[in-house]
């Protein structure tokens, strides 16, 4: 995986497309040390070579240039990543949510987002005599 400067993200893919990497495989995000990383993979179907690229998003800006004008296939992945991680793709015209009913509220894939279902349902494993956390919830998880 190659790490790319966010400012050069789209340029890098434009160059890869020119070099024959014309199949857009996937794009997603990953929360690494409380910072969001966008990851994408493109393939050259002629020689079966692929390129996996990543860029660390500036948390203050929370945005990266959209690849939609380079790869039409990036649109679906960017829409999904936008609604799930709250990343803004500069230049992505189609911002309709895919799975969420609206883009209001906290992006569900962020580790800091406490899922409503886990707030509303009491954890059956809570011991009576001491505090214990269920697996997979954030540190300061609090029951409503």
């Amino acid at each position: 995986m190659r790490n790319i400067d966010t400012a050069l993200w789209a340029d890098e893919f434009r160059e890869l497309l020119a070099r024959g990497f014309y199949f857009f495989d996937f794009l997603t995000a990953y929360e690494r040390d409380s910072q969001l990383e966008v990851i994408a993979r493109v393939v050259n179907p002629e020689n079966k070579q692929s390129q996996l690229l990543a860029t660390m998003i500036d948390p203050k800006l929370g945005e990266v240039t959209s690849l939609a004008s380079i790869y039409l296939g990036a649109v679906w992945h960017e829409r999904e990543t936008a609604e799930m991680f709250g990343i803004y793709f500069v230049g992505l015209v189609d911002d309709r949510p895919l799975l969420r009913r609206s883009l209001l509220g906290a992006p569900p894939m962020l580790k800091s987002t406490v899922l409503a279902a886990r707030m509303l349902k009491p954890w059956p494993g809570q011991p009576s005599h001491r505090k214990q956390q269920p697996i997979g919830v954030v540190e300061d998880w609090l029951q409503l």
């Binding site: 349902k121 954890w123 059956p124 494993g125 697996i135 997979g136």
Partner: protein, 115 residues
């Protein structure tokens, strides 16, 4: 090994409970990713003949598995230190309501006697 209907005996059909083996340690409840197991217990003191002082044992009051929610992963079966939970291949227990898929001690124990 298969049961009479040709289904492997270890098929993830339903989870059977042996209540007498359960120590109410809560490990299964806490490990369940679907939060579909609930149990309640209370402590009782038992004095065994010849013992110098009584010992405290946990007595199971309720134990339920919500098979509507269960993802049949088997983590509870794997983590139980006392083999109180095990797989049974029975699959024929559809219900007319979601509540009908919530099984208590009696129902969970009844799977043990099925072929």
């Amino acid at each position: 090994m298969t049961n009479p209907s040709g289904i492997p005996a270890q098929a993830h059909g339903v989870i059977a409970l042996t209540a007498s083996a359960c120590t109410s340690c809560m490990i299964c409840v806490r490990e369940c990713p679907a939060w579909c197991i609930e149990l309640e217990s209370h402590d009782e003191e038992v004095t065994e003949p010849g013992a110098r002082r009584p010992r405290t044992v946990s007595v199971l009051d309720t134990f339920t598995i919500d098979f509507g929610l269960c993802m049949y992963c088997g983590i509870c079966v794997d983590v139980c230190p006392f083999d109180a939970l095990e797989w049974h291949s029975e699959f024929d227990y559809a219900a007319g309501s979601p509540g009908g898929l919530i099984q208590g001690i009696n129902e969970l124990e009844s799977w043990q006697s099925k072929p």
